[in-house]
Amino acid sequence: MNDSEWLLIGGMALVTFGIRYPVLALSGRLQLPPRLLQALNYVPPAVLTAIVVPAVLVEAGDLWISWQNPRLIGAIAAIAIGLWRQNLLLTIVVGMAAFLLWQFIV
């Protein structure tokens, strides 16, 4: 590893830990308002959806809503099996299989 690699990794590690840790460090003295606690319930689905939707529908900056989009087909398969069977592992495996199959066919 050279100097610039150390600098890069040191910097990335520092800023990442600098996001994850300080709130926890101060948490003993924090008193969160009830409205904020209510809002926190919505964090997981909101963040996950904000990551997933563009990852499925955007290709090189443009919307790609078409049956030829293997990510869309994989996502639809994952949603369908997930709603039906409510099993996380099955959702991942079926979504992945549909995606790979479609990518191979189209």
Partner: protein, 245 residues
């Protein structure tokens, strides 16, 4: 969730730890291809074997590691990559705030450990455990179990990918990164049981599309906040305001 209490109705730290690791297994399955691709991509992006392994060990934040590779490949300066990492990982701030009520009484070493090992996956699994009504005082062991399972897997997959990348330089083009998308879909679906949650997901998704041209994936942050705001709004208008005691 399958945590078997003993005869006294309590769970031990060990039981919590292993339950956390077990509960994370489906998410690990989703992370495996992701980690392997990171390893295979690293060397084509100009990162040495040691640097890629060190990044997974010390940064431990998948999506920002990928983005760092992409920026490295285009010859971006270190400062810009670090800044982008910060923006991409800002969402962890929301997770940290979400964990405050459950972790505030823990010793500092616990906060360092659980902070360092905080990821999307572990947050999602741990927060479900924390919200269960049983009064177990050891739920943080559950989070630690999940965190270490994710961490161990990520290191292993990075090494595997680095080794594989030397043998099959094309593996990165197979599209296996879709595994993360499928995993995140599977993690979102169980939330869609109430009207405010559905509203949150719809607004977050649409906003993410509209905000996609914002630099450094800031759109994710904007969309998440729009979704959270919507959820609160719908919940508040749905039922009459209950006076706080």
């Amino acid at each position: 969730m399958a945590i078997a209490p003993d005869a006294t109705g309590k769970t031990s730290p060990g039981q919590e730890f292993w339950a956390g690791a077990r509960q994370t297994i489906p998410l690990i399955v989703g992370a495996i291809p992701f980690g392997i691709i990171f390893g295979t991509l690293a060397q084509t992006s100009g990162l040495s074997f040691g640097a890629a392994a060190a990044m997974s060990a010390l940064v431990f934040a998948g999506s920002s590691q990928f983005i760092a590779l992409g920026l490295l490949a285009t010859g971006s300066p270190v400062g810009l990559i670090v800044l982008t990492t910060w923006v991409v990982n800002l969402r962890h701030l929301l997770y940290a705030v979400g964990l405050v009520p459950y972790l505030q009484a823990l010793a500092p070493a616990w906060k360092v450990a659980l902070g360092f090992w905080l990821t999307d996956e572990t947050f999602m699994v741990a927060i479900q455990r924390y919200r269960q009504p049983d009064p177990s005082p050891d739920k943080h062991w559950f989070q630690l179990g999940s965190a270490l399972a994710m961490y161990g897997n990520w290191q292993l997959c990075t090494w595997l990918g680095l080794t594989l990348g030397q043998a099959m330089p094309n593996a990165a083009n197979w599209g296996l990164d879709f595994a993360m998308v499928a995993t995140f879909i599977g993690m979102t679906l169980p939330y869609l049981k109430t009207r405010p949650m559905v509203a949150t997901v719809l607004v977050a998704g649409i906003t993410a599309l509209l905000a996609r041209s914002l630099p450094h994936q800031l759109g994710i942050m904007v969309a998440a906040i729009a979704g959270i705001f919507t959820g609160v709004l719908v919940e508040t208008t749905q039922k009459p305001e209950v006076p706080h005691p």
